[in-house]
């Protein structure tokens, strides 16, 4: 088990390899379909993405507007492959260190990880309660106009559990398991 604390550094990310189990502590920024689309359209991000990690997640947040307090009720990962057309660009243009999601991503993103020194972290799909508990507070929210699940939520997390499934050395656990299981299937049919 590795622990990585904020501020995250490029060198630490480059050291990670497929299969590493990691606990992340510090700041994460959520971003899913609408955020990626907007960035792709050339709109500048409302907060610097340099050395940040983007979490593909549409959290359920209960808002106490009067006291400006937020409580995260559920915050599991959403399927990442929908961001496949844009993710490598965000890596190139905004200096992010990686993304968290589920289901893995494709060749473009893998190439992006290699070229720009990023990783893909896989969170445990469906584990809404465990993951929500590791989110200690909401520090800020940007691009609220996109709607609550699509906005950029700045989350403070502690020991957020993830597994590296795509690394900056061209390794992809998804590709590995895909080809080994396909070969095995041929044998078993």
């Amino acid at each position: 088990m590795k622990k990585i604390d904020y501020p995250f550094k490029r060198e630490q990310i480059r050291e990670l390899k497929v299969g590493d189990m990691v606990l992340l502590s510090g700041t994460l920024l959520t971003g899913r379909d609408a955020v990626h689309k907007r960035l792709h359209e050339g709109v500048k991000p409302p907060v610097s993405l340099e050395n940040q990690i983007i979490y593909h997640c549409g959290p359920v947040v209960i808002e106490d507007a009067k006291n400006k307090k937020y409580e995260v009720k559920a915050a599991g990962p959403t399927t990442s492959i929908r961001e496949e057309p844009y993710q490598w660009e965000v890596m190139r243009d905004y200096g992010i260190l990686g993304v968290i999601g589920k289901g893995g991503m494709g060749a473009k993103t893998l190439k992006g990880c290699q070229e720009y020194g990023c990783v893909y972290f896989h969170a445990i799909g469906g584990a809404a309660q465990v993951l929500a508990e590791r989110i200690k507070s909401v520090k800020n929210v940007y691009w609220r106009d996109l709607g609550s699940p699509e906005a950029i939520w700045e989350l403070e997390v502690e020991d957020f559990p993830v597994v590296v499934t795509m690394d900056s050395h061209g390794g992809s656990l998804h590709d590995e398991v895909q080809s080994s299981s396909e070969a095995k299937l041929k044998e078993l049919l």
Partner: protein, 316 residues
């Protein structure tokens, strides 16, 4: 007894009568709400048992074991907090077995109210979208939502089963029209086996494995998928009464677990927790294999109701 006391006593009696009178309806909504709450927040024992067994089997310190540990912790936490196991509370599928003369329309109304109440409390997420406008403001009530399936039976009892089936796993469901030439799969159980294993390989990494397959051989494209979901209502540890299917179910589960896909597609020994296969008649011209995939967050529960619509027994 003073007059005041007498009056008070009368009031109490009256109140009691009133409670009794509203009971059947009121009880049904309460029973339904409790059914929804339990389904969304507590994983049934038969499913928990196989998940725990799978956890023991995975290699120590592997990412597969890690994934299952987090899943286990999540199941415990959801129960403790009475909060949804997964944030995608899924398609709401009711299966109602009822005696002759049961008022389906009335049940549907009460059921809608219970779904609405559960959505407001947060046992269910607002999860039903108008397919044309993309609007999501119906609090889970709309055409086809919730999805209620009625079956008349000869018994006097009412049994209500509920399944919450998430989008991720529903998306990896598949239907094969046999023969399926790509895999050289013919219209027999060997061909059926081939396409099921193919579907498992294609579903990897999606739909939050390890999961369970509900399968229907035969039927038309519509009835086949419904039957595949009804197969998921069977207790995970039951035995198929048809020997050839019993054998196939076991074979599929064992073979799938040799594929090395593992929890979340991380690699490992647990790819499938179980497999349930049913059969419907078909036309001579068609032969469908319909496959529904249920993720580890296998949320299904059921209640047997007493005549006053309170819960007499939990079915899983």
């Amino acid at each position: 007894m003073t007059r005041k006391k007498k009056a008070a006593k009368k009031k109490v009696v009256k109140k009691k009568a009133a409670t009794k009178k509203k009971s059947a309806d009121q009880n049904l909504s309460e029973s339904l709400l409790e059914l929804i709450r339990t389904t969304s927040t507590v994983l049934p024992d038969d499913i928990q048992r196989v998940i725990l067994k799978a956890l023991k089997k995975e290699e120590k310190k592997s990412s597969a074991e890690y994934a299952l540990q987090i899943i286990k912790a999540n199941i415990e936490l959801a129960k403790k907090k009475s909060q949804p196991i997964c944030q995608d509370t899924g398609t709401i599928l009711f299966f109602v077995s009822h005696p002759v003369g049961f008022d389906q329309g009335k049940f549907t109304k009460t059921c809608h109210k219970a779904v609405l109440a559960a959505t407001k409390i947060g046992y269910l997420r607002q999860n039903s979208v108008d397919s044309l406008t993309g609007k999501n403001d119906s609090m889970n009530i709309g055409p086809g939502h919730p999805s209620i399936h009625f079956h008349e039976h000869k018994k006097k009892s009412i049994e209500i089963r509920l399944m919450l089936k998430g989008g991720g796993c529903e998306n990896v469901g598949a239907q094969y029209a046999m023969p399926y030439t790509g895999l050289n799969a013919g219209r027999d159980l060997d061909g059926v086996r081939k396409v099921i294993l193919d579907a498992i390989v294609k579903a990897q990494g999606k739909g939050c494995g390890p999961g369970v397959l509900g399968i229907c051989i035969g039927g038309d494209r519509g009835s086949g998928f419904i039957e595949s979901k009804e197969q998921l209502l069977r207790p995970l540890d039951d035995k198929n009464p048809e020997p050839s299917l019993k054998k196939l179910e076991r074979d599929i589960t064992e073979t799938a677990n040799k594929l090395g896909i593992g929890p979340m597609g991380f690699g490992g020994t647990t790819t499938l927790l179980g497999c349930k296969i049913g059969v419907l008649n078909r036309l001579p011209a068609s032969y469908f294999v319909s496959i529904s995939y249920m993720c580890w967050a296998y949320r299904r529960q059921g209640v047997l109701l007493k005549s006053n619509s309170t819960v007499s027994k939990w079915l899983y």
